[in-house]
């Protein structure tokens, strides 16, 4: 298990380097630069700006400088948000995205898995059809439609919850964005759980458990749930990364100061250091989550461990 872990960790390094390289050169290859303005800058000013951000150096040296900085956790200064370094921006934005993302995943897991189990146990009943119809709707309504709907109902009309912002960071401010983020995940997870639970419930060891006269809830919780969760877990890694990193739309609609907004703003403004910082950070995050999933898999499924 230890050598497996180490091998996986070492394997991630080249992936990360390639990612950094691609992002570094691609963003610079995009037409237009950080100093293009409606009003063209005076050549002297553009020259001193380029010098200040080391953009006047040859590319290989800029790249070397960047990687060297990364090794010291220095992502460089932001071109767009001039009063901050990229490290500061990520440190400020990530906890917000993380809170939103993790809350959404926890909510989605609790609700989705429960709904999926109930649907599987009452297969083809009205409950099952109802849950699955809701799930289908949830999967097919994108969150940029759902989120404004929730705002319209709960903020503008009923005035129960705020329409945007984090306020003082209280739960009230989190309810709508977390719900919008969680809904599609709930939908997907409940379908996934239902499918795999039905399969597991039909397997030999469950039949044996039934034959032994165990109560239904015990069969589900003690025997069927763990194997039924395997597909859920393998989905969970990428899903968590996606929810934490992919909440760009939700962060915009709810004016939440998360990391996703820097991605968009950074790319649009050709804020090279900011885009790079977010890409590298996301890269590390996604690699880490996939790694965790592999470990969880090994724990859940003995077959993986012995391989």
């Amino acid at each position: 298990m230890l050598s497996y872990t180490l091998r996986r960790l070492l394997g991630a390094l080249p992936t990360l380097l390639i990612l950094i390289g691609f992002a570094f050169f691609l963003i610079r290859a995009a037409p237009g630069g950080p100093f293009d303005r409606e009003r063209t800058l005076l050549p002297e000013i553009e020259a001193s700006l380029r010098a200040a951000y080391h953009l006047d150096e040859p590319l290989y040296r800029q790249f070397g400088r960047y990687v060297w900085g990364l090794l010291h956790f220095d992502f460089g200064p932001s071109f767009q948000y001039r009063d901050y370094t990229v490290t500061e921006l990520i440190t400020a934005g990530f906890p917000v995205s993380l809170t939103l993302g993790l809350s959404a995943i926890v909510v989605a897991l609790l609700v989705g898995v429960t709904a999926g189990c109930i649907a599987a146990l009452r297969q083809n009943s009205r409950v099952d059809h109802g849950v699955m119809a809701l799930a289908m709707t949830g999967v097919s309504i994108p969150n940029f439609v759902m989120a404004p709907l929730l705002v319209l109902v709960f903020a503008v009309t009923l005035r129960w919850l705020p329409a945007g912002g984090l306020g003082d960071g209280s739960i009230r401010n989190l309810v709508l964005p977390v719900t919008s983020l969680a809904l599609p995940q709930i939908a997907y997870l409940s379908r996934l759980t239902r499918g795999s639970m039905i399969e597991v419930l039909g397997s030999n060891f469950v039949r044996t458990a039934r034959a032994q006269g165990l109560p239904a809830w015990q069969i589900v919780v003690r025997h069927a749930l763990k194997p039924a969760l395997l597909p859920v877990v393998s989905y969970l890694g990428p899903a968590t990364a996606a929810v934490i990193t992919g909440s760009v739309v939700i962060e915009q609609i709810f004016s939440v100061p998360g990391l996703g907004r820097y991605f968009v703003a950074g790319a649009l403004n050709r804020d090279y250091t900011l885009v790079m910082g977010v890409v590298v950070f996301y890269g590390v995050l996604i690699i880490a989550f996939n790694f965790l999933v592999d470990l969880a898999y090994a724990w859940l499924d003995p077959k993986v461990r012995y391989r």
């Binding site: 002297e44 000013i45 001193s48 200040a52 400020a92 439609v145 503008v156 005035r159 915009q252 004016s255």
Partner: protein, 551 residues
């Protein structure tokens, strides 16, 4: 069947949410309260003097000498005050300076500063602060992209170019409260520049103490009516009353919160949910809904900005072809764009410089004609330029990706097609790509452009079309035009100067390197309990004039 029905209802609901329909409750709630606003007298103040305003994109910086975006300017107006300041209606009024004298030749200004002016930490604001700050503004090390605002000061351009040290700038402290500024040329709009953020003073001691961190809450020391209390990027900026401000007795608001919103619709929803007292802007797509439900809160006012198309005159087909350019300009029915497409009260324009006091607006000679007459003339010019049904002009309109720009481009292409038979292709590019393409003048033929004036003087527009100007993306070059602009820079008599500028615009309009379309307006929503708000052409609002009525 029933499932399908459900989906249909959801889709309809979603469409309604996006279109902003079903807003009865919010609108009803506010108009229902209208009767009590301001209490019995109508001017009673609310107990909590806190204002929440929408502020468009996240601000780039709180360093007044490095700021270049409206979001930053809006906050800086509260944190700082220059020698001059703006009244609620935009008029220039004394700021830190109480009065000033101008020398005979118009090149030397002496300002007397308020003795009671204080920084937000209690230090006195002195002439030395202004000397330090103006030098900092032109110093190339500051990396200011707006240093050209200070260009009229003696030696400013040479300092920005790195040829002279900042100490050579034409600014001197005669004593603690008297400041002398020397200009290279008499510059009639100079006083207006002294209200720009480039001319705000910064607090030397805190800059030196905190280095890169000097604009952070707790470090930033300003001299405005408010001081910085909190700044969370992409969440909010909070400013609170500055008790040391010289006119603090007249400040009514205790706190102002600025909220950045990338999404115009999100800002509008926050306004409807009463989280914002004012928006920065209104979503154009919802204007019909807003007019219906929020008519009493919608404030629309002229804005110092021109929207126009440029012709690339360095390449065929527009090179040396003023007849073709005139034909295309005359074939556009501007009223269709302003009244039917945009419908916010924008003014159709037939000249470049928007309405500015003291300047007689110039227009194409055909401005007073009917559209039919213009179209007839357009056809004649088009034929004279050598085009016709068998030989139509094939061209391309390029614009930066945005819905309104697209709608306008489509309309213009179809007007050209209908009136002249022009085959115009429309092409959009993402903003930075577009800037790059436009500036290279290779792939552009007709392109979209807009400009918001930096100061309230025609020069901020007309200088852009000088043959040497960096922003001249048309490639327009007419020695007569350049001569008139240069002459206006050394002309001391304000009237004669304006006449030179007007003459320059007439020359340019006869050549038609640009196709003027409309003058901008600024639209925002303001809750009925916000007092002291006045529209002005520069859209500069100091919150020291505003207050919240009881509601």
């Amino acid at each position: 069947m029933s499932k399908l029905y459900g989906v249909g209802v959801l889709a309809a609901l979603a469409a309604a949410a996006l279109a902003g329909c079903g807003g009865g409750p919010a609108a009803g709630a506010t108009s229902g309260r209208a009767a009590q606003i301001g209490g019995a007298s109508g001017s009673e103040l609310a107990e909590r003097q806190v204002l929440h305003v929408g502020n468009e994109a996240e601000l780039q910086t709180l360093d007044p000498h490095r700021a270049e975006d409206t979001s930053s300017f809006n906050v800086l107006l509260d944190l700082y005050e220059g020698l001059l300041a703006e009244a609620p209606n935009g008029d220039l009024i004394p700021g830190v300076a109480t009065d000033w004298t101008v020398s005979e030749d118009g090149k030397t200004y002496v300002f007397n500063l308020r003795r009671e002016a204080r920084w937000s930490n209690g230090d006195p604001v002195t002439a030395h602060d202004f000397v330090y700050s103006l030098r900092r503004g032109v110093d190339p090390k500051t990396l200011s992209v707006y240093s050209y605002i200070l260009s009229p000061l003696l030696h400013a351009d040479d300092i920005t170019a790195g040829k002279l040290p900042p100490e050579e700038l034409g600014v001197r402290a005669l004593d603690d409260h008297t400041l002398e500024i020397e200009l290279a040329n008499p510059t009639p709009y100079f006083l207006g520049l002294m209200a720009h953020s480039m001319a705000y003073p910064v607090h030397r001691a805190s800059l030196e103490a905190h280095g890169d961190q000097w604009t952070r809450p707790g470090n930033l020391v300003g001299n405005g009516a408010f001081k910085l209390d909190d700044w969370v990027v992409h969440s909010h900026v909070k400013v609170v009353r500055n008790p040391y401000y010289w006119d603090n007795a007249n400040t009514k608001l205790e706190e102002v919160w600025f909220y950045p919103t990338d999404d115009l619709n999100a800002e509008f929803q926050r306004y409807r949910a009463l989280e914002l007292d004012m928006t920065g802007i209104v979503p154009a797509a919802q204007i019909g809904f807003i007019r219906e439900n929020y008519a009493d809160q919608l404030v629309i006012a002229p804005y110092l900005g021109s929207y126009y198309y440029g012709f690339n005159v360095t390449r065929p087909p527009f090179k040396d072809n003023p007849k073709l350019r005139r034909a295309l300009s005359l074939a556009v029915n501007r009223d269709v764009i302003t009244k039917q497409i945009l419908n916010l009260g924008q003014l159709s324009s037939y000249g470049f410089v928007p309405p500015i006091p003291g300047y007689t607006q110039q227009q194409m000679p055909e401005a007073g004609w009917t559209q039919e007459q213009r179209e007839a003339e357009a056809k004649r010019l088009y034929a004279e330029a050598g085009y016709g049904p068998s030989n139509p002009l094939r061209t391309q309109i390029m614009y930066n990706t945005q819905e309104d720009h697209r709608r306008i481009a489509v309309a213009i292409a179809s007007m050209w097609k209908q009136v002249l038979g022009v085959e115009a292709e429309i092409l959009n590019q993402e903003w930075k790509v577009f800037l790059d393409t436009r500036n290279k003048k290779v792939d552009t033929q007709v392109y979209r452009q807009g400009w918001i004036g930096d100061y309230n003087d025609p020069f901020t527009y007309l200088e852009m079309l000088r043959s040497t100007a960096g922003q001249n993306d048309t490639g327009y070059s007419n020695p007569e035009y350049d001569r008139l602009i240069a002459a206006s820079q050394s002309e001391r008599d304000p009237r004669a100067r304006m006449e030179l500028l007007q003459e320059a615009e007439r020359v340019m309009l006869a050549d038609m390197p640009i196709l003027p379309l409309y003058t901008y307006v600024r639209a925002r929503l303001v809750q009925p309990w916000v007092g002291g708000y006045q529209s002005n052409i520069m859209d500069r609002h100091r919150h020291k004039y505003m207050y919240v009525l009881k509601h």
